[in-house]
């Protein structure tokens, strides 16, 4: 059975020992860093803002875990601590949790399972390989299910969802402005978000095409990522998936979810690319956390 499980996990790719250990180390640092920043960012929102002292204490503790967890020596205790803290967070505000919190818990659980205990803070390369492969499966499943859900609920087939988002979310309106004709964009953004408003229907063929290509890509890209079409197709599928993720997030702005998903997609590379991604994502998180203050400064500067 053990060999069967190893074979199943390895379907998403097989890393060299050293690469697997480095990828797992980079994922550990990334997830811990994500949670440390997310803990502070969440304080802006209900229900976290209703008990700020409690959630600020958890965010501080997650920050300590991220700092300690940077070093292999403290990896197990920091990952275990962050996992416990995140479980407390999820339970304390359930059901008003962000999906990236569940994703972080799953990734932390896989990282925790890669520690044997017998080797101290060091990870067995075989376990690291299995944990990284399991993370790749999670990313694959998530990508495929995202496409299936869009298809199942039907709001992407005629571009209704994108029309509604363009109408009600200025972020989406900005992102889609280049491909939606001016008259249609003006009609959509003039619609109100109230009962009776509409129709939230896409008329621009390009918008309908983008809408359908999105769910199609999410369902088909995992086939390429699995390596069923060769290693070149796998690399192309990884690059396209990352581009798709960034494009979606330009409108959705789910930065913590995007950070972990892009890192997960980078696990499909032959070498460790997650380590190089860490400073990029760290900078994005800093800017995201500082954005409210920065935008106030910019507005104040513009006014004076």
């Amino acid at each position: 059975m053990s060999a069967g499980i190893d074979r199943f996990l390895a379907q998403t790719g097989r890393d060299d020992d050293e690469v697997a250990v480095r990828k797992l180390q980079a994922m550990r640092r990334l997830v811990l860093m994500t949670l440390a920043f997310e803990g502070w960012a969440a304080l802006r929102y209900v229900p976290y803002s209703e008990s700020p002292g409690f959630h600020a204490a958890i965010a501080t503790a997650l920050g300590v875990c991220a700092l300690l967890g940077w070093r292999d020596r403290f990896a197990l205790v920091s990952v275990g601590g962050a996992l416990a803290l995140e479980l407390v967070t999820v339970i304390s505000v359930f059901p008003h949790n962000a999906n990236h919190q569940y994703l972080a818990i799953v990734l932390l659980a896989l990282i925790t399972l890669s520690f044997s205990g017998a080797r101290g803070p060091r990870v067995d390369p075989g376990d690291a390989r299995a944990a990284v492969a399991a993370m790749r499966w999670i990313v694959l499943a998530g990508l495929a299910w995202s496409g299936v859900m869009k298809l199942r609920y039907g709001y992407w087939l005629g571009g209704e969802f994108l029309s509604y988002q363009i109408a009600t979310d200025p972020g989406f309106a900005r992102v889609f402005a280049p491909i939606v004709p001016g008259a249609e964009l003006a009609r959509l953004v003039a619609l109100e978000n109230r009962i009776g408003a509409g129709p939230f229907r896409a008329e621009a063929p390009l918008l309908v095409a983008v809408s359908n290509l999105t769910w199609l890509a999410e369902i088909t890209l995992p086939i390429g990522l699995l390596g069923l079409l060769g290693s070149l197709a796998r690399t192309i599928a990884m690059v396209v998936s990352i581009a798709l993720m960034i494009a979606i997030q330009a409108g959705a702005r789910e930065i913590f979810f995007a950070g972990m998903m892009v890192a997960g997609l980078l696990l499909f590379a032959r070498r460790d690319r997650v380590s190089a991604f860490l400073p990029v994502v760290g900078l994005c998180y800093v800017l995201w956390l500082a954005w409210p203050a920065l935008s106030r400064l910019l507005v104040a500067g513009g006014a004076s």
Binding site: L110, L113, S114, M149
Partner: protein, 141 residues
């Protein structure tokens, strides 16, 4: 824990995460939970769910809207948030207890739950109302 047990646990985690969205589909269909929530990979699959809650109270056989203020207002909002996320799995028990306790003359409470949805056929935003009635329980005075 041996290496094979740990890898079996990893396999279990992957299996759980991969199969959960199928359960999630059922929860959305049967209980009316919000597709965006509960890790079903269905965020942005449709407009975010929104349920508005109005509380009507019956005094001496006359039904009228309750003017909830302060703490009770916050409870109504909290229930609306829970109902939006959990659908019919959200319990109104705490809200009902507060409403009945606030006035002994209230004989029954009707929750008017308005589900605001984007109708695929017309592409218009529509409100689908559901009324749920609760008689004053005998234990609450």
């Amino acid at each position: 824990m041996t290496g094979s047990v740990r890898r079996a646990a990893m396999f279990g985690v992957v299996t759980l995460v991969a199969l959960w969205p199928a359960v999630h589909l059922g929860l959305v269909a049967r209980a009316g939970t919000d597709p965006w929530e509960l890790f079903g990979w269905a965020m942005y699959s449709q407009p975010a769910a929104r349920v508005q809650v109005r509380v009507d109270v019956e005094r001496a056989g006359v039904l009228e809207p309750l003017r909830a203020m302060g703490g009770m207002r916050r409870q109504v909002e909290a229930f609306a948030r829970a109902r939006t996320t959990l659908g019919r799995l959200a319990s109104p028990k705490e809200l009902l207890a507060t409403v009945f306790a606030s006035d002994a003359s209230i004989g029954a409470v009707e929750l008017v739950l308005r589900d605001v949805k984007l109708d695929l056929e017309s592409a218009l935003l529509v409100g689908i109302d559901e009324r749920v009635r609760f008689e004053r329980p005998r234990t609450v005075r």
